[in-house]
Every structure is written in structure tokens, then in C-alpha cells.
């Protein structure tokens, strides 16, 4: 994107910068001069921010909150991007199959998405985690399963309308195989809307995984992730509100930044919406 076009989206640039800082901090966590996020120091528990060695204070076990936030970013960001990516890949494949091939494949894909969409979003994720057992990986799988119908519906709609168009018919008449038609003629038609949906979905997925961790169904202690930090700090909210406010703020700022970038991408790539 040229500098002039970037200037049209100052909020998105700010959002991208915030995301870049979060990603770099998360990626470089082991190299940063931070204390061990899991090292317990009970005499120094629940220290307020700006106290001695701990710029953001300590939690109920005396663990450094800044360090836990940075290490927690690795889990929370990876979980958000990972689940959105998994949902996108599964959703796109099923959307292409359901849109391009009529008959039993289409019926199967559509009934599957109908049933999954018949559940309230987070409830189904919780139910799947209930079956698989609590843990970050299971929470991610559950959220991806709940999330893929969004992509399936989107891609199927585009494929259904594109496959009727003359250039696709022409390609078929020229003897192109299904794989060539899909890759060369159909895929470019849904790349933009899928990217836009993905960029807006990452924030939602970070919220969803943090929500499951908050309920005790995602990341398990002592691993730091923003949702579980919030859950364990909740009991100390009266004495030390920072223990709860800081991880919540981290989730909010990162998701807000991701949504700003997603909004601008939608404006730039998908002007119809």
C-alpha cells in the first residue's frame, strides 16, 4: 500500500503498530530482560504497579505481571491467529466443495453448517471442550469448529455465483479441469472477502479463547495467558484491582487494534460492504 493510501487510514496504521509491538514482544519474550513469568515470590505478592523491580506490579503469587503479560501474549495471540486460520482453512475447503459440487456433497456441507449454526456460538465451543477435556489445544479446536461455518457460507455464496459466469463456462469448454478452474478462476474471486473476514475474525477468536480460559476450560495453570490471568486474579480484585485490570486491558487493546486493521482492510478490499 502506498504512503498516500496509508494516510487515509490513520487509525488502522495505529492499530497495525500496536499489533506489531505485541507480536514482536511476544516473539522476543525469551530474549527480553524479564523475570521468569512462573517464578513465585510470596513475600512480594500483590505489589502495585511501579513498585521496585516490577513495573506493572505482581500477582497473588508474587509473579511479575509484565513478564506474565508478555509471555501470555505468546499464548493469546497464537491462539487467536491459530484458531482463526484453522477455521478459515476448513471453512474455505468446505465452502468450495459445497458451492462447486452439487448433490450429496453440497447437502452434507450445508446440513453440517446449519446444525453448527443452530447453537449459540460460545456454548457449542464450551460443549466441545466439555467432551474433549479442558486445555488450550482442545479450546482452540473447539473454537475453530464453531467458527468455520462463517467462512463456508461466505465462500459457498461466492463460488455459487461465480461458477455460473461465462468465463468459467469458457474455461470448462476449453477443457480445463475442475482443479484448474477452481485455482485460476474461482479462487481469486473470494480471496478478498475471506481475508477481510479473517482479519476481523482474529480479534473475535482472541476474545473467545480468553473467554474459555477465563472459565477454566482453556490454558491451565501455571501457564500464563490473558484470560486465565484474569480468572485467577478475580478473587483479589478488591485489594489489588491491577491484577485483573491489566490482563483485561491487554486483551481489549490488542483486539481493538486488530478490529481497526480489519475495518480498514474491509474498506480497502471490499468496498461493497
Amino acid at each position: 500500500m502506498s504512503r498516500r493510501r496509508l494516510r487515509r487510514y490513520p487509525l488502522a496504521v495505529a492499530g497495525a503498530l500496536v499489533l506489531a509491538v505485541a507480536v514482536v514482544a511476544a516473539a522476543l519474550a525469551p530474549q527480553l530482560p524479564l523475570p521468569d513469568p512462573d517464578s513465585v515470590d510470596t513475600p512480594n505478592r500483590l505489589r502495585p504497579p511501579l513498585s521496585g523491580q516490577h513495573p506493572l506490579g505482581t500477582d497473588e503469587f508474587g509473579r511479575d505481571i509484565l513478564s506474565r503479560l508478555v509471555w501470555g501474549a505468546r499464548v493469546s495471540l497464537l491462539a487467536g491467529v491459530g484458531t482463526a486460520a484453522l477455521a478459515m482453512v476448513v471453512g474455505v475447503v468446505l465452502g468450495v466443495l459445497g458451492g462447486y459440487y452439487t448433490g450429496w456433497i453440497e447437502a452434507l456441507v450445508m446440513r453440517l453448517t446449519d446444525v453448527l449454526m443452530a447453537f449459540p456460538y460460545i456454548l457449542l465451543a464450551i460443549a466441545i471442550v466439555a467432551g474433549l477435556g479442558p486445555g488450550l489445544r482442545n479450546a482452540m479446536v473447539a473454537i475453530a469448529i464453531v467458527g468455520f461455518p462463517l467462512y463456508t457460507r461466505l465462500v459457498r455464496g461466492v463460488v455459487l455465483s461465480v461458477k455460473q459466469l461465462e468465463f468459467v463456462e469458457a474455461a470448462r469448454a476449453l477443457g480445463s479441469t475442475d482443479a484448474t478452474i477452481l485455482a485460476r478462476h474461482v479462487l481469486p474471486q473470494f480471496v478478498s472477502p475471506v481475508l477481510v473476514t479473517f482479519s476481523l475474525d482474529v480479534g473475535a477468536k482472541i476474545l473467545a479463547t480468553a473467554g474459555l480460559s477465563f472459565l477454566g476450560l482453556g490454558t491451565q495453570p501455571p501457564t500464563a495467558d490473558w484470560g486465565s490471568m484474569l480468572a485467577t486474579g478475580r478473587q483479589f480484585v478488591v485489594l489489588s484491582p491491577h491484577v485483573v485490570l491489566l490482563p483485561g486491558l491487554a486483551i481489549f487493546v490488542v483486539v481493538f487494534a486488530a478490529n481497526l486493521v480489519g475495518d480498514a482492510l474491509r474498506d480497502a478490499l471490499d468496498p461493497r460492504t
Binding site: A118, L215, L230, G248
Partner: protein, 316 residues
């Protein structure tokens, strides 16, 4: 309308069947023996054998499903392993509290969202319109459980205006005022994100409708602006608004799990999380089934509302 209703009810049957299969399969998702997962590694062989026999786990899956759905159809959702009593009465009792919370949040978000959206559309680019735009981004980015804790810290712990948790005061409560005081914070927390979503959709739909020729005609014949906006504008914008309200009802039913946990609201959500942590599958299945069924009913109601708002839909 009767034919439309019958067709719509018929369409709900495969969805209900699919929902029941998903809920049934919850028990069988994890690799290994469900009885061992439920009772833990300390269970004796006799206990495991008894539970397997109780749940019919030795039989093939389709047989197990047929038996389970037969029981469910008769209102028997099984016995809770943790509470050692039938699941259904507890789930229904808790469901009333969830319905109250979700219904209140839906009422707040629909009234607030539609009003905000209509006002924003009536004066685009005004300060109110800009504010609701920023609020929408905030709403989409705010973790609901965090918002609940922040509201609780401010209004309960610091200002002392509202109770921090539960549904009734431990002593001397029980009246409508007590319930309302306990309901306010959870309902506002749950409604926060939906208000902004409904407001943005109402705004964009209203802007589209207000640009139509018949609105110009209404203005040209000298109708006052308020009548143009509400009678001619809002009425024609209702279908997308009803759609988003229906979607939000589902979102609120699911989101209630988090809000209930924050405020210790005695709803199905808190019961379900307790059930999961206690590995009480019949209880979890009962909770999921009741919420999912109510969502199917909401979707059905939304479809019937469409047909009532726009009679053309009945004849398509």
C-alpha cells in the same frame, strides 16, 4: 400463514436432529472410556461397570443414541453424577434465571440499539453518530467478562450502589426491587456489545431506507420528520433489524455463560461450567440441550416474525 408455519416447523426437524446428535456426541468426543473419564482414575472396577451399564456404554453408538433420544423425548435427561438426582428439574430451574438475564439484556440492547441507530441515521455524522461508531468498535473488542468485573468494581465495591453477585440478597431479600438490583449489572454487561451491533445495523439499514423515493414522497407531502422516520423509515427497515436481534439472542444465550460466572448468577451457564469441571456429562448434555433447543425456538420465532412483518415472505 398456517402453511408457512407448517413448512418452517418441518424445516426445523433435521436441525433438531442434528443438534441432538451433536449434544449426544459430546460424551464420546474424548478418546478413551467415557466412564473412566467421568469417574476418574480412582474409580473401582465395579463402579465403572455400573456406570457403563447405566449409560449403556457397551452397546454400539447408534443404539446408544436411539435409547438416549428416546429418554430425552420423554423428558428424561439422565441423572447427574455429581448431584445424584435427575438433571431436568435442576436445568429447568436454572434456565429460568438464564432466561430472565438474557431476556432483560435483549430488551435493553434492542431498545437502546434501535433508538441509537435511528437517531444516528436521522443525523448522520453528528456527534451522536460518531460516538455510536466508536462505541461499536469498543463493543466488538471488549471482553464481556472483563467489562463485568470493571462494572462490579465501580458500582458495587466502590460506590456500593448495586449488589456484586447472586440473584437475591442473602438476608431479607426476595422482592422485585431486590431482583432488579441484582439483575442490573449482569444485564447491562451482557447487553453492552449487542447494543452497539444492533445500533450499527439499524443505522445502515435506516440510511438505505431513508434514501428511497417513497421517503422523498412522504416528505414532499408535508409529513413531519419524526413520522417519516418512524412510520415510513423504521417500518421498512424492520426485517434486517429483526434478523440481527435474533442473531443477538443466540449470542446473548451463549455469552450469558461468561456473565453468569462473573456475577455468580444462578443460571444454566454456571451449572454447565460446574458440570464440566466435575466431569458430569449428563448434566452438561442437559444444559447444552436446553439452551440449544431454546435457540432453535428463537430462530423459528424470528422467521415467523418476518412473515408477520412482510406478508410477501409467506407466499414465496
Amino acid at each position: 400463514m398456517k402453511r408457512y408455519l407448517a413448512r418452517r416447523l418441518l424445516l426445523a426437524v433435521p436441525v433438531l436432529l442434528g443438534v441432538s446428535i451433536v449434544v449426544f456426541m459430546v460424551l464420546h468426543l474424548a478418546p478413551g472410556d467415557p466412564a473412566e473419564i467421568m469417574l476418574g482414575s480412582a474409580a473401582t472396577k465395579e463402579d465403572l461397570a455400573r456406570l457403563r451399564a447405566d449409560l449403556g456404554l457397551e452397546e454400539p453408538l447408534p443404539v446408544q443414541y436411539a435409547r438416549w433420544i428416546g429418554h430425552v423425548a420423554r423428558g428424561d435427561l439422565g441423572r447427574s453424577l455429581w448431584m445424584r438426582r435427575p438433571v431436568l428439574p435442576d436445568v429447568l430451574d436454572r434456565f429460568r434465571a438464564t432466561l430472565l438475564l438474557t431476556g432483560s439484556a435483549l430488551a435493553i440492547s434492542t431498545a437502546g440499539g434501535v433508538a441509537l441507530g435511528v437517531l444516528s441515521a436521522a443525523r448522520p455524522h453528528s456527534w451522536l453518530d460518531r460516538l455510536s461508531g466508536v462505541a461499536a468498535l469498543f463493543g466488538a473488542s471488549m471482553p464481556v467478562f472483563w467489562l463485568g468485573i470493571v462494572l462490579m468494581v465501580i458500582f458495587s465495591l466502590h460506590l456500593g450502589w448495586l449488589p456484586a453477585s447472586g440473584m437475591w440478597a442473602p438476608h431479607g431479600g426476595g422482592g422485585a426491587g431486590d431482583l432488579l438490583a441484582h439483575l442490573t449489572l449482569p444485564a447491562l454487561t451482557l447487553a453492552a456489545a449487542s447494543v452497539t451491533i444492533i445500533a450499527r445495523l439499524t443505522r445502515s439499514t435506516m440510511l438505505e431506507v431513508l434514501g428511497q423515493d417513497y421517503i422523498r414522497t412522504a416528505r414532499a407531502k408535508g409529513l413531519i420528520e419524526r413520522r417519516v422516520v418512524t412510520r415510513h423509515g423504521l417500518r421498512n427497515a424492520l426485517i434486517p433489524i429483526v434478523t440481527v436481534v435474533g442473531v443477538q439472542a443466540g449470542y446473548l444465550l451463549g455469552g450469558a455463560v461468561l456473565t453468569e460466572t462473573v456475577f455468580a448468577w444462578p443460571g444454566v451457564g454456571t451449572l454447565m461450567v460446574q458440570g464440566i469441571l466435575a466431569r458430569d456429562f449428563p448434566l452438561v448434555q442437559g444444559c447444552v440441550l436446553v439452551i440449544a433447543l431454546s435457540f432453535v425456538v428463537i430462530n423459528l420465532a424470528v422467521d415467523l416474525l418476518y412473515a408477520w412483518i412482510d406478508p410477501r415472505i409467506r407466499y414465496e
